[in-house]
Symmetry: C2
Subunit: 411 residues, 2 copies
């Protein structure tokens, strides 16, 4: 079997990850996380990082087979354990200015047949243990980036009617196109794309809406925005002064909702792949900023466990706008991977807010973020609510409605 | 190409690693380190560990290709960097009673063509950063084990005239034989072997020699033994109360020399593979416990850098007795891997002593270890000095000589 992944484009993806995604600076250490199958991309990124002057590149590999062995043979007490010592170590490295790159390649159905009670416990233990580390990421202390790799198990979920070879080839091409590495000058294309997203953010920031009102099938939701919120999209400057593109691909502009000011009901528009299980057709009702009722056709138990992670898990940490005409959406492919599916539809996220999404965020204390309405939680889970029929109005401070989206597109 | 590694024996090796090597207890977490090529053994050990009741099994993979990329493209400042944050995290896990398993499979010549100045700097940075973690291992705070896996790059060094498939098959069989997993009841065979090693240790402890005198080709060396030294071999009880077999294979009994009382000269009897370079035909002269002159036919620069790591690097931390008739020695194979070659010949180690090799070691402070003559250093590097011609006398407190080895065998 010939290699179904175009090596030339894979090299370009490594270049884009280091130059555009991370903006890695001379002397910076890099910590990478990746499933073991993604080793070919890890090696190319390692080379690119050293060429860019990296100090030390360290990869922490995960292995889905080890995860399955845990569920198959593991002692009951295993499911409340997590590697806090490792997350704390990574946090320490971030405090010494190490950059972070994650390669996403998970089989979205890895844990579909495992006991949801155990999956929920394991997820919660990991969320709790990794909170201090994750906080440094969501607070943008350092430059970070996520890119994707077409693993066979993921590809077979996305293209179930194809042979493994064809499925991997199709997923690889979809990743390359969405990541703009099928173009002659990917770095230049990203500079252009970042300009477009910056212009949308600027328009929204100019309006400084008090709330957004979403309407569509199964959805009538008013999302109050945090005081002093700021819209962002594409390139962002981390607190260490380095401009990075955290998500590759990215099509969204996003900001911080007010943790106490979300009212109404909403239906998910795409399945959510959450740590190896699929949660589909979520319906939720918000009151005073929090989900007070939730159900799902599939994965309801994992959803409810996730919402019970902590006090902040039922409130929103992010609202993001993506036109229905986004290239990923137009591909018509459901990736079962948040990195892709969230860039095909407007979405919201339960849990921790990005403290970066505030005016003058560098000088904002945690208490001020909270006073502005920013939510805090051990989780940050995006789920898709936008569709072709979605209308969004911006609600001004004086209560007027300004069209933002009509039929899924920028108005 | 069919898989040249017998999967049935590989499974037995995983069983021996967990049951004999670690003695893993219910609820213990396990931290494994392994090169990425050893993933098949990692997966089998992960299963065995979960079956034995492990809490959480975490594997930290290394990748020789990433190491080479560092030497090929890395910035000069890279070679003084080390992952202190990761070593510190592992140390924290040991403090919470996690067990440690290392899979050894390195290509002994990986760095043979790299700049020895950079290799020396990188080794030193790693030694310094990992000292607190390694101290918990050498102090036997927790149960630990090293086993080996027949990687292709290692096999091709050991059997350079064979095809890769044959070389891997031969190395696999050699590892399986030395690790006693080619027998019907490996766990029982290990219990027998541990009895033999315990009897040798008991005999040596009964004599409580003041010193050992080694003579042989190029060697006339008197190694004073530490006050209150204790000989050990095979199974050992760690401070967490768990009996483990740290090395698989193991044929040695060993104890702590006196850091100030080694006099004479010594020639190495086998090449030393040290972190990707080969050091061959070492000649060293000791005065007052320390190497005052050293040379080598190959790898002299790396040897001298290693000896300059710190104050304690020139003194001895271990002396170990292995008969020339040991099965690994009789195989006639030079493995270029300390785990094997040190179990084919008497050897000494530069650097840190095992604080466990003292009477009443559990209640001994660091100062008491030092007062007894125990050496401390950021390195612990074994090198082989025993051969077919080696004679060893035990020197009693009153100065009499008791034959210990004659012509490489127990006297």
């Amino acid at each position: 079997m010939s290699n179904p992944i175009d090596q030339n484009k894979l090299e370009k993806l490594a270049e884009v990850a280091v130059q555009v995604g991370l903006g890695l600076e001379e002397g910076q250490d890099l910590i990478m996380t990746a499933p073991i199958e993604a080793a070919p991309l890890v090696r190319l990124i390692t080379e690119q990082a050293y060429k860019a002057g990296a100090g030390l590149v360290t990869t922490l590999y995960s292995d889905p087979e080890a995860t399955l062995a845990r569920y198959k043979y593991g002692h009951d007490l295993s499911f409340d354990r997590a590697t806090g010592w490792l997350f704390d170590g990574i946090g320490e490295a971030f405090d010494n200015n190490a950059a972070r790159l994650a390669i996403s390649a998970e089989n979205p159905m890895l844990l579909a047949n495992e006991d949801p009670e155990k999956v929920g416990r394991a997820n919660k233990a990991m969320s709790v243990a990794s909170t201090p580390m994750r906080k440094r990421i969501v607070d943008f202390n350092i430059n970070w980036n996520i890119v994707s790799y077409p693993s066979a198990d993921w590809a077979k979920q996305v293209f179930p009617h194809d042979s493994e070879e064809i499925a991997v080839k199709k997923l690889a091409e979809a990743i390359f196109a969405a990541s703009r590495v099928d173009l002659d000058d990917p770095v230049g294309a990203w500079a252009e794309h970042n300009k477009t997203l910056a212009a949308k953010s600027k328009w929204l920031n100019g309006h400084n809406f008090a709330a957004l009102h979403f309407s569509g099938p199964g959805t009538d939701l008013t999302i109050g925005l945090a005081d002093n919120h700021e819209w962002m999209g594409g390139a962002a400057k981390a607190k260490n002064g380095i401009v990075c593109n955290p998500n590759i691909p990215t099509e969204e502009v996003f900001t911080t909702p007010h943790a106490l000011k979300v009212e109404g009901y909403v239906r998910s528009s795409k399945p959510l792949s959450h740590q190896g299980t699929l949660i589909d057709n979520i319906e939720a009702r918000f009151e005073g900023g929090r989900i007070v009722e939730a159900r799902a056709d599939k994965g309801e138990e994992v959803l409810l466990k996730m919402l019970d992670t902590d006090e902040g898990a039922r409130a929103l940490g992010e609202v993001a706008l993506v036109p229905h005409s986004s290239p990923i959406s137009q591909s018509g492919t459901l990736f079962y991977n948040t990195m892709f599916d969230e860039n095909a539809a407007c979405h919201i996220a339960q849990g921790q807010c990005y403290s970066k999404c505030f005016k003058d965020s560098e000088n904002l204390s945690e208490n001020q973020v909270r006073a502005n309405g920013g939510n805090s939680s051990q989780i940050h889970v995006d789920w898709m609510i936008g569709a072709a029929e979605t209308d969004i109005d911006g609600v001004t401070r004086s209560g007027e409605a300004v069209p933002v989206f009509r039929n899924g597109e920028w108005a």
